[in-house]
């Protein structure tokens, strides 16, 4: 069957990329312990009452979290896979500190070739231009904001120096992660044209958002399971009700589906930051993570019942973090539809 072998793409499967690495696991465990020591759920609640925790940033820098996923020549360590693993832990902890936005901005600069010692050691944030203002995601204390605009199938990366510039804090669905708003005219900035499509430039940041949402989803699912095991109704643990079990199983499938896509995306982007494959997988991963987070936090709330609607439980914290973060870089429906509209012919 000569025709078959000559017309198909050669495909050697990189099984090794999917073997869990001990280094990744070490980062996960260290971060989990560290976040648990740094702050509690009550600290998150207090940020809702206007008591932010800017003091959390320095320990994160000291522990080297801001270096993960950066190149060695900038003192970086670990891979994009390690960064997503770290951000999943940040999501699981509902970290009330701007690690995600920092990582997103750093990844944009890295893809655009703009990351250097100065920017790598600044407090970065991801931002968006809306009319005459700059909206900085989780950016009340950021020194540098990074925004990516589309321009004729290519993109423009804008780097804003925020140090010393006045900013308004905009209330957000997740009060532990407020927006900063600044007048564009006030901010010194540089523009860098980039030959890639915006979806390529934001592929790594999208994967970062996906990772955090997966962590939020996993936390909500764990919370739901713990509740289902402990709570009795009609004389039995509600976790023994088949309908509850099946809902939890379905949510678990959604979480692992997203985790697989996020891993695939990080592997593809780690191999080639401007690959179409990476851009595509990052959108699917982000969409899947949004699904998983939306579904898991809703399920936790539903299972907890009235308690899930109060701050006696952590459920509203997870709902707010998930709903605040899901639209970032595109909501699930939008991303799925965009990938489908692009897809012609064979799936791969």
């Amino acid at each position: 069957m000569n025709e078959a072998t000559s017309t198909v793409t050669d495909r050697v499967i990189d099984w090794d990329a999917y073997i869990p690495r001990e280094e990744t696991q070490a980062i996960v465990e260290a971060a989990r312990d560290h976040f648990a020591a740094l702050f509690s759920a009550d600290d998150i609640r207090r940020t809702y009452d206007g008591d932010p925790r800017p003091d959390l940033w320095e320990p994160l820098v000291e522990h080297g979290y801001t270096l993960i996923g950066l190149p060695e020549e900038l003192d970086g360590l670990g891979t994009l896979v390690d960064l997503t693993a770290l951000l999943e832990e940040a999501g699981r902890a509902l970290l009330p500190a701007p690690l995600l936005t920092h990582a997103m901005a750093a990844q944009v600069l890295l893809t655009a070739g703009l990351l250097d010692e100065t920017t790598a050691s600044s407090r970065l944030a991801f931002a968006r231009i809306r009319g005459g203002t700059l909206h900085v995601f989780d950016g009340t204390d950021a020194d540098i904001a990074v925004a990516v605009d589309s321009a004729d199938g290519m993109s423009v990366v804008r780097v804003f120096t925020l140090t010393g510039v006045d900013r308004d804090v905009i209330p957000a669905v997740d009060p532990s992660r407020p927006f900063a708003r600044l007048a564009l005219d006030d901010i010194p900035s540089r523009e860098h044209a980039c030959a890639e499509h915006r979806d390529v430039v934001v592929a790594a940041p999208r994967t970062c958002v996906a990772a955090e949402l997966i962590g939020v989803a996993a936390r909500a699912l764990d919370g739901a399971i713990t509740h289902a095991l402990g709570r009795e109704q009609f004389g039995r643990s509600i976790g023994s009700f088949q309908a509850v079990k099946h809902q939890l199983a379905d949510a678990y499938v959604l979480v692992e589906r997203a985790r697989s896509l996020a891993l695939g995306s990080a592997v593809a982007l780690g191999a080639s930051r401007d690959s179409a494959e990476g851009s595509r997988l990052s959108r699917l991963a982000k969409a899947a993570a949004g699904d998983a987070a939306a579904q898991s936090v809703a399920l936790q709330t539903q299972l907890l019942g009235a308690m899930g609607l109060t701050f006696e439980s952590d459920s509203p914290l997870a709902v707010r973090r998930a709903r605040h973060t899901i639209p970032l870089l595109g909501n699930p429906g939008e991303l799925y539809a965009a990938v489908a509209a692009e897809a012609l012919g064979a799936v791969r």
Binding site: R130, G305, L309, T310, N331
Partner: protein, 367 residues
Amino acid sequence: MTDSLTQFRSFLDTVLPDDYAVAYAGYREDEDLRRRFQAAMFDEGWLIPEWPHGLGGRDLPRTEALTIRIEGARLRIPREMNIQAAGVVAPALRTFGTPEQQERYLRPTLRGEAWWALGMSEPDAGSDLASLRTTAVRRGDMFVVNGQKVWTTQADGSRWCTLYARTDATAPKHRGISCLIVDMDSPGITVRRIRTAGPSIESFCEVFFDDVEVPADQLLGELNGGWRVAVSALEHERDMIWVHNWLEMQRALAPVLDDPARPSYANERVGRLLADTEAIRLTGMRSVGARTAGIYSPISGILKLFGSESVQRAAALALELGADEDEVPLDRFDEYLESMAATIYGGTSEVQRNIIAERVLGLPKGA
């Protein structure tokens, strides 16, 4: 237009501010208007139009009364401050109350002058009323109440409470429960407010009862007949539930439909929700029609589940499409949060599915 509808519109013109139709959102927080409005609704017989004159009604036929209530809901008339007073407690008082109880409570309850708390849920029972542990022990001409209620809406502002307590510890679970009318100012009652997940979720309280004395004549319904009172009270508002959900669907979808930049990829989901909207209305009407004809119809059993889940899907879609890539509008989030509560209150969706499967489809009880 029927006469009563014309009269109701005239009444609204008289009692509501001129700009109410366009500015109703701003009047939502106008507590004074809301109080005055409820009293006027009662006085003029529009509060429960199918009830007798003098009791907030004007003896209208059931469907005509429902038309009035739908019209009111559609025009977004001011909400009652303490919705369960006229909606849940008053019907129970009318069905189960003694003449003295009706004389004492009905009027202030319906006019909105006295708020009520519904003392049902407990820490380890949740929506499983039959498992409640609060006790009421007869001592002389008093019941002495001990126990704890949770998730009690507006307990901190209520004058009275319909308290469900165990009066016979030896009877099978749901047979030993009675309903007592409790004065919330009684010694021994402590109320603790619980912070809710957002402003759209009505305040909850924990209520502790420590040797609270309740006069024996404050028993509502029969001794150990509390189960019947509870079931009857919760079923009274069935029609208003579908009307409410139907209007909530419209409210949630309006900004989506109005959005000139609505993305086409979501059209299938939007259309599905439009079908849900109409189906809620039409199923509600079928249910009323069957009742009017005196025919048993199982479909009213799906209205709560179908309506509340549809509203949640609509609110989630509006939330998703309302986000401007990164910023989520706070009001749409609050509405989504409110819709999450709708599948929990008054019997969770899981309980509703069990009820449909068992009572409508005839499947056996069991897990």
